[in-house]
């Protein structure tokens, strides 16, 4: 009987036979990994070659006429078979990876992409590359990117790059710290600085592939809400819009004397002084030639736009909408602030489900539909709200017959077909409040910012691709074991079970003796 001992000739040949491919594979991988074919991979390859040679020599020394013997034939056959089987497994796995089906077993579908993302990926018309500059690729990032790649038709690829290993590439994309992600499509790039997630990757994809930015003109000169500043400004939503590749520009109608040709959307955010005749006409004419206008108008302000609104079948109610349900008070809001959870079926609001948005001191909009217009009440107050006629006195009680009972439309979106051929339409969104988009109100963590951002995007982007994706919510769940269960668990898991194992061992051993 043979024992394992180095030095015996047969064992040596065995070792050589196994060492040879090992060294060759090690050399190849070292070369591929470092992209450099220096002494290490070449040395390893040489070692492999020498081992292979030695094995052949050894084999031929064992017996002359080695090549003619049956055992040689079978062992070369065996090697060939092994190689063939490995190649076969390679092909099977290649196909399996290609056509793999994935089932997401998590309860909140944490690993399933949103419908918007899938739309975007399936409509990619140019190759997009995602470069993750991280030496230590988190497997969660890889999972996410793999899912993107699977949904896209060969137009999506990604790569994890060690910034220290490829400093020129890092410099090219101005990467300063590990973990930064660069999305590249043709000449355009987009950078993601936060942790990679679907809610920032998909917008980056849209930005990098969309061939135009949206130019949003904000009217000035009527004491509108400023785009920068503190709680009473639009700075937060402005930032969100810029992230979506919306260019924010000021527009003084009197100075310019016209609405610029390149305007994709004009925003009138909470004016305090009326628009002059000339300005009103400019806005009307802009809508009539297929423009997009967003109006945010507060109670008790004469913006001089009633005429324009009438043309679209709208009248401002000019009364506060009061919330009698008491829900707002529970989170520290006054009864003059309503919480909206009902949204119309519209591209702006289609993904909102019943998320809350907050409207302080809003007015309702009365609708008298103009024929053929497509009117959607995108935000509706609750059934326990009413329009308070006596709002200025501070006596906020519902009076039957005087006050108007809810639900009342707070936001309205209208599409008007101007001509069929070529297709041309005007879009108007009106909110009975401007405060809802300010930093101070957005801080309530409702979906106010989404409502505003999606409105601007819907108005400005006629391709309707860039709508907001909300980050997926993780299941929030605790585990509470009652005392008996946890006691039993402890006893069984660390005491009884091991005892059974060790006890049986002793018993079997004893019986064997």
């Amino acid at each position: 009987m043979k024992r394992f001992a180095l030095g015996s000739r047969e064992q040596l040949t065995m070792v050589l036979l196994w060492a040879a491919p090992l060294f060759i594979i090690a050399g190849l991988s070292a070369g591929i990994v470092t992209h450099r074919w220096n002494w290490l991979p070449l040395g390893l390859l040489a070692l492999g070659g020498i081992a292979l040679l030695l094995w052949l020599i050894q084999q031929s020394r064992v017996s002359t006429g080695f090549w003619g013997r049956r055992s040689t034939q079978t062992s070369t056959n065996a090697i060939l078979t092994v190689m063939a089987v490995i190649a076969l497994l390679g092909i099977v796995n290649f196909l399996a990876d290609r056509y793999s089906v994935e089932v997401d077993l998590t309860e909140n579908r944490a690993f399933t992409l949103a419908a918007e993302t899938r739309d975007v990926l399936q409509n990619l018309d140019q190759p997009v590359r995602v470069l993750v500059f991280d030496a230590n690729a988190a497997s969660r990032d890889r999972l996410l990117l793999e899912q993107y790649r699977r949904q896209a038709n060969n137009q999506f690829s990604f790569e994890f790059i060690d910034p220290q290993e490829q400093p020129t590439l890092a410099k090219k994309y101005n990467v300063t710290q590990a973990g930064q992600v660069i999305v590249v499509a043709g000449e355009k790039t987009q950078r993601i600085d936060e942790a990679l997630s679907e809610s920032n990757l998909t917008p980056a994809l849209i930005r990098v592939t969309s061939d135009r930015t949206i130019r949003a003109y904000f009217t000035t000169g009527h004491n509108e809400l400023p785009l920068t500043g503190g709680a009473a400004s639009l700075s937060e939503v402005a930032k969100l819009l810029e992230q979506r590749d919306v260019e924010l520009l000021p527009l003084n109608l009197l100075e310019k004397g016209k609405i610029p040709e390149d305007a994709n959307v004009v925003v009138v955010a909470g004016p305090r002084q009326p628009f002059l005749r000339l300005e009103q006409d400019l806005l009307k004419e802009y809508l009539n030639r297929g423009g997009s206008l967003l109006l945010m108008l507060d109670v008790d302000v004469n913006a001089g736009l009633d005429d324009l609104l009438k043309n679209w079948g709208l009248t401002l109610d000019n009364r506060w909408v009061i919330d009698g349900s008491g829900v707002g008070q529970q989170v520290g809001l006054g009864s003059d602030t309503i919480i909206v959870t009902t949204y119309g079926n519209h591209p702006i609001t289609q993904r909102f489900a019943q998320g809350p948005s907050v409207f302080p001191r809003a007015q309702a909009i009365r609708i008298d539909p103009v024929k053929d217009d497509d009117i959607v009440e995108i935000a509706l107050s609750g059934s326990q709200t009413w329009a308070e006629t006596d709002w200025q006195s501070g006596n906020l009680e519902f009076t039957e017959g005087v006050d108007t009972k809810g639900p009342l439309p707070i936001g309205v979106a209208i599409t008007r077909q101007l001509s069929d051929n070529p297709p041309k339409e005007a879009r108007l969104v009106v909110f009975g409040d401007s405060e809802f988009a300010t930093d101070g109100v957005i801080a309530y963590q409702g979906i106010n910012s989404d409502l505003f951002v999606n409105s601007v995007l819907w108005l400005g982007d006629r391709d309707q691709k860039a709508l907001s994706i909300r980050p997926r919510e993780t299941t929030n769940r605790r585990l509470q074991l009652n005392v008996t269960t946890s006691r039993w668990l402890e006893i069984i898991s660390v005491f009884l079970l091991p005892l059974v194992g060790f006890g049986s061992a002793v018993f079997v051993w004893w019986r064997r003796r």
Binding site: K2, M14, V33, S71, T74, S75, A78, T81, V82, V85, I86, L89, N93, A96, D97, Y99, S100, V101, E102, V103, D104, L105, T106, E107, A110, F111, A135, N136, A137, S139, L143, E159, F160, I161, D162, E165, Q166, E473, T474, T475, N476, R477, R478, L479, Q480, N482, T485, S486, L489, E490, I492, S493, V494, F495, P498, G501, F502, A505, V508, R512
Partner: protein, 275 residues
């Protein structure tokens, strides 16, 4: 090779079953395997309690802080977190146990000279390898069963209870990983008649798999894709997270098949050597 007929298939199954029963019987009469079971259960029980209490108390502390100071709240799925961490640890414990289970699969036969009796034709080589692998996998699954039961008992106490599919997928992944490692370990044990050497080689295989996983995470480009795909640990981790991919099954299946195939080849070569 006999042509594949119904009769041939029946003979093959009968062979596999005979080997399977013989092997399984040997596990239940050897004190060594009971010791392994005891160690496995003790370690997994301890780790389970430690993981569970640590995570529960950490989250409770965080909740308390949040109540007192209004610190930003974070959504935590406690039972799922426990499951993921515990299965990761269970994988590590198994990596110590598995080479010990696979080391004796063929070395004993070689030492006792009974291999010649078994290795009579290429087809029986396959049957023997498959039967042995099935038996040792059955033994490992038996070790795992009570552990799966108390995972169910504990993790389903949350409201709403953790989806049973998550527990099943994670533990199923563990069994598949074990099957792949055992299959490769079986091949290594067929190369030598030293049990110790077989165990060391088995550990080396695990080390290689682990290095493969690390390499997959640290290299870039296409190579990283390929290595990630080939790394069984990566597929196991995905399963513990609740992602089931058909390609994972194919990868594990490939490793299992490769192990059985190489074993059969190696025994075939052994037979020629002896003649």
């Amino acid at each position: 090779m006999p042509s594949i007929s119904l009769h041939g298939l029946r003979v093959i199954f009968a062979n596999i079953l005979a080997i399977y029963r013989r092997e399984l019987q040997s596990y239940f009469t050897a004190p060594f395997y009971y010791v392994i079971a005891g160690v496995f259960w003790l370690l997994s029980g301890l780790f389970f309690l430690v993981v569970m209490t640590t995570i529960i108390s950490q989250v409770a502390q965080q909740d308390l802080l949040q109540q007192q100071f209004g610190a930003p709240s974070q959504a935590v799925d406690v039972p799922k977190l426990i499951l993921e961490s515990f299965l990761g640890l269970l994988g590590s414990i198994s990596q110590v146990i598995l080479p010990m289970l696979s080391m004796g699969l063929y070395t004993e036969e070689r030492k006792r000279g009974t291999l010649e009796l078994l290795a009579t034709s290429p087809i029986t080589n396959w049957c023997v390898a498959t039967g042995k692998l099935l038996a040792v996998l059955t033994f490992y699954t038996t070790l795992l069963l009570p552990v799966i039961v108390y995972q169910f008992v504990a993790l389903q106490q949350s409201t709403p209870p953790l989806s049973p599919w998550l527990i099943l997928a994670g533990n199923g992944g563990l069994i598949l990983l074990a099957a792949a490692v055992l299959s490769l370990g079986m091949f290594l044990s067929s190369l030598t008649d030293s049990t110790i050497l077989a165990a060391i080689l088995g550990f080396a295989v695990l080390l290689i798999l682990w290095v493969l996983d690390v390499l997959a995470k640290n290299t870039g480009g296409n190579l990283s894709d390929i290595l990630t795909y080939l790394s069984p640990l990566e597929h196991f981790t995905n399963l513990t997270r609740g992602i089931f991919r058909t390609s994972s099954l194919v990868v594990f299946g490939s490793y299992i098949f490769l192990g059985i195939f190489l074993t059969a080849q190696s025994i075939d070569a052994f037979r020629y050597q002896r003649n």
